[in-house]
Each structure stands twice: as C-alpha cells, then as structure tokens.
Subunit: 338 residues, 2 copies
C-alpha cells in the first residue's frame, strides 16, 4: 500500500542508505544519485513514514499541549498561537483538553508519553500538581504556560497576574469605588491566587473596604460568575463594583446584574480578566485585563525548543512574567467619560 524507501531505492537504482541521505539532505551524495532519488520519490509519490523515522531517531518532533478548557476562547487562542509557532519549527502539537479534571490530565500525560512526544506544554496545571511535578523532577521536558507550578525548577511563561489584578482594582478605585467585590478562581491555580493577591494588595494599600464577604470563590466557569454575583448583591451592603477574575465569569456576572435590573456601570461597575475577543463587542463592552496570549504561546514553544536543544538540562529554569494591560471599555464607567 504505502511506498517505502526500499521501493524508492529500487526505482532509483541506489541503496536505501542513499535514499535516506538524499531525503535528509545529507551533504555527500553525488548530484547524479540525488536527482535520481528525487525523481523516484516524485514518480512513486513517496511519503516518508514519520513513525519509522521517529523510531530510528528517538524523537518525534511532536509536543503535547494540555489545556483545561478548549471551550474557553482564552485557551483556544493560546492553543492556536502554540500550534502556529510550533509549525514554524516543524513541531507538531497534539492538543488535549483536560476539562479541568486531574484524572484527565493524568490520562493525557500517560498518553503523550506513550506517543513519545519530545515534551509537554501545560496550560492546565495547578500549583501543586503531583503528576506534573513528577515529570519535572524526572527531567522530562515540560513548560508551563499561563498557569505555573509552585515547583521552582519548573519553567513557565505566565502573565503577571498579580499586577493585572492591581491594574483593575486601582482603576476602579480611581473611579471612586471603595467597596469592590471580587469573584475569584480556584485557589489551587496560580492565576487565581496571584490575581487575588493583587486585589488584596490594592485594597489594603488604598484602604478600601475589606470585608471578607466581598471575596467570593469562583471556579473560572460561567456558572460561578452568575451565582457569585448574586451572592455579592445579596449582601446587606453590596459592592458598587465587581472585579471578576476571568471574562467567562464576568460575562455571566453581567447577566446576573441585568436580571436584577441593575445597570452597568451606573449601578455596579464591572471588570473582567483575559480580554477574550467577544468582550470588545459593542453590546458587551467589558473592561478587562488583557494578557499577551499570542506572545505567551510563542514563548512557550520557544522555551521548549531551547530546553530540548541542551542535551541534559543543567540549564536554569525560565520564569517569565508577561506584562498585562488594562483595556478600558464601558462596563467600568470610565468609558462614559470620553
């Protein structure tokens, strides 16, 4: 069925070794043989077998990518960026959606290792992730993208989430808000934890109201954005502004506020996080903190390539924090000033 180098060799009247050398542009092959091989390749429509090649080379030129939720546009953008960047370097990406489930993550890690990927990029990890830690400790090539691992020797490319949160809260405070609610993400994720720290820091620094019930625990999914908002607005003294730790929840928060008949930003100001593309829609106009998603993906790939280049580690881990940026739209109230 499939053509092999053996057939090509026969057709070209050379040995398999020579075919292989031509295919891999090995320098010392006579021009004559070189062109005969290429002719045969074309004539037979030869397609190299990556499996066999990977077997012989002991590397697959393939990376695994673990994302927690492909349905979240934030992650489809990250994934796209990683896939595109990988392709520039002829690196294939196997994309796996862990659905935020640790057991899925474990399943996919095993799977990727069995596929003998050259390394794994995690966008799905929690601060303390035993499986991921095991890999890092075993010197298996891993890069953490967006979410980082607590483990110091693990390399990551992340946003400066603490700073992002600070931008958001300071902005709200600057607009006169003293009582700012916060809907957080799962505490075991670095992104959620860092953003919460940023929020708290500004609340303290600026002497904003700091009742503990102003912070509600979310889960980075739609549902919690809704119920969290309801909970905040049910407070005896509800906040005048809400900062939501990701856009998906902020979108739901917006709906919760609408359902209550509250106007945004007049009654409650709202700020999200991530800058997924729909937030810029005129009907939405959500003020949010943008992350350099594309850069994050690119750097994750570049860092992985660097890691794979040095034979056996020895190199220092890379810890990169990308600059976040506040995108001011209508939902915070500042947009109206213009």
């Amino acid at each position: 069925m499939n053509i092999t180098t053996k057939e090509v060799a026969k057709e070209a009247g050379v040995s398999q070794s020579t075919v292989s050398r031509v295919l891999n542009s090995y320098p010392y092959v006579s021009e004559d043989n070189r062109s005969r091989v290429w002719d045969a390749v074309e004539k037979l429509r030869y397609q190299p077998n990556h499996l066999a090649r990977s077997m012989a080379l002991q590397k697959t030129n393939t990376l695994g990518l673990l994302v927690p939720d492909l349905m979240n546009p934030f992650y489809s953008e990250i994934a796209k960026s990683i896939i595109d960047r990988g392709q520039e370097f002829k690196l294939n990406i196997i994309l796996c959606d862990t659905d935020n489930k640790p057991e899925m993550q474990k399943f996919y890690i095993d799977f990727l290792q069995q596929k003998r990927v050259d390394g794994i990029i995690f966008a799905s990890v929690s601060l303390r992730d035993p499986e991921a830690e095991r890999l890092v400790n075993a010197e298996y090539p891993c890069i953490f993208c967006n979410r980082r691992l607590k483990l110091k020797k693990a390399s990551f490319i992340s946003s400066d989430n603490q700073k992002g949160a600070k931008l958001a809260v300071r902005h709200l405070a600057g607009l006169g808000h003293r009582r700012i609610g916060y809907i957080s993400g799962p505490d075991e994720l670095s992104t959620a934890r860092d953003r919460l720290m940023g929020y708290r820091e500004v609340v303290e620094a600026l002497g904003l109201e700091a009742d503990s019930e102003l912070v509600v625990q979310g889960r980075f999914d739609r549902g919690l954005g809704y119920s969290g908002t309801m909970k905040l607005m049910d407070l005896p003294k509800p906040p005048t502004a809400i900062f939501v730790s990701n856009d998906l929840m902020a979108l739901a928060a917006m709906e919760a506020l609408m359902e209550r008949g509250l106007r945004i930003p007049e009654d409650v100001a709202l700020v999200g996080y991530d800058d997924i593309s729909i937030t810029g829609h005129k009907r939405i106009g959500l003020t949010t903190v943008a992350q350099q998603k594309d850069m994050m993906g690119r750097l994750a790939v570049d860092t992985m390539i660097a890691m794979l280049a040095k034979e056996n580690g020895g190199t220092k881990p890379v810890h990169t924090y990308l600059e976040p940026k506040l995108i001011i739209r209508d939902s915070c109230g500042a947009g109206k000033l213009k």
Copy 2:
C-alpha cells in the same frame, strides 16, 4: 531511558513474546506468567511505546481532524465533540487548523499521512477540493463533517443547511418582513451554498422581494459581516431584516447596525446561523439557527469507525443531514411578543 518490553521480560523471567501477549490480553498465557509480567510492568513503570506498536500493527489508532478556524467557537465545539467521542473508542485526534487556506489544508493532509493516521475527518473542505477528492478516490478513509464534498462517494455528516436557512427566512417573513437581506458565505462551501439555496427558495415561494443586491457575498468571518451589513443598509431601499449565514458575521452585523444608530429588531431584524454559545447572552440575544454540533462530531467519529472496520470499503457512502433548529431570541423581533 525508556523501559522496553525487553527489560520487562527480563525482570519477569519470560520472553518478550509473553510480555506482549499479556499486555494485549491475549488469552493463552498462564496465570503465573501473567501476574509476573504485570508485577514487572508496575515495578519498572513500563510505558508502552505507541510508535513501535503502530509500526508493527500498521495502524495508529489516531485520526486527523482538519478544521478551518479554531477561533470560531462553532469549530472548537465540533472539535471538542470529536475529540471526546474519539477518546471513548481509544482513538486519538490530531487537530489541525487550516485557517481556511487551501495550501495549509494540503500541508496538513501530507503531514497526517506521514503520521500514518488511520483516517481523516475534514470539517474544512470546499465542495470541490482536489486534495480531498484525490484521497477519497484512493479509498483513503475520509469523513466530511459539516462541510461536504460534491463527490458522491464521499461520506459526510452535515446539517440540513438548506432547511435551516428556510426556517430562518420563513420566520422573518412570518413576522411581516418582505425585504430580507442575506449575507452569504463563500460560494465554494457547501454550507454557504445550501443556505443560500434555502434563502432563495423561501423568497421565491413566498413571493418576497428578490432584488439581487439583497444578497451580499460574505466570507464567514467577522469583517465581511460588518461591511456586508453596511452595504445592505446603503441600498436606496435597505432591507427591514437581515439573515446572516453565520453567527460570527451576525455579531459583526449587529455592531454595524448599532453604529448606524439602528435598533435591533425595531429598525432591522437580525438572524444568524450556528448558535455559538455567546449568542444566548442577554446582551446579545441573537436569534439563530442551531446545528446539532455535538451530534455532528459524534457521528463523524462513529462513521469513521464503521468505515475503518470494513476492510476495503465496498460499503456505500454515508450521507447524513442533521435537523437544524431555529432558536428564537430578541434580535428577530419575535422575542418581544412574549
């Protein structure tokens, strides 16, 4: 570095053949040997090498999936559905985003073939796609999902797009609209062509206004939704309703109308297609035609599995049209009636 069956065999004191038999739950192995092998596997943390296995078996248990645009939530949902369904059958999916570019499609087809995937699911194909046709004619296992190929012997799972468009246009007509604009997709795509046919059929059947300038050519991306709407509203006699052939463009159409100071649905009614999740947001409220995305993905996988099961084709191609469903929200004007 990596443990092989050889090591496991040695550890268990049996031959590689026996290890292989145990690993693949081959029936005739003594209980004794069986447990020794499993013990060794655990002790050594053996991970089978899929590459070698695929080489020997001449199948990879992997499918390629080509989507035209991962950034469109419609396709990330399709992809998720296919990946999830694949996993239930231990089929791995390599997801490739062709970015709607034929040359990318060609690149990925080659790539997937080199990876020796067992088959390819196309969600990215145009009606006349030479590369895809070549594969189908060569009896290479292909399933077309959502977009179909003109070629009769190709199997596809698609929505009944003609019917979907008819539902939308009839609904608008039922609300009293006689002059309905239509923003189409690229003519070479089955989805676009079928929807256009549906639109035309209803326009004719109901004797609606049928000026040719009521139909503008779009490209299934945001930009064209915007400019197409502008073009329609610039008409000497603009339409009172616009049907847009996908939600991404409809979202942009919404913005274009807002920019013009036109109210939806009071001044212009709007209907989209796809029912991507954001259209249900309270701030958006876009009436749209829902496709059975999840079912489409599942069936694509199931059909592929059936195709792979029968040795050499001979079986008839599968042509499945899934039922679309009109989701009525605010943008068409009917929502207000309640």
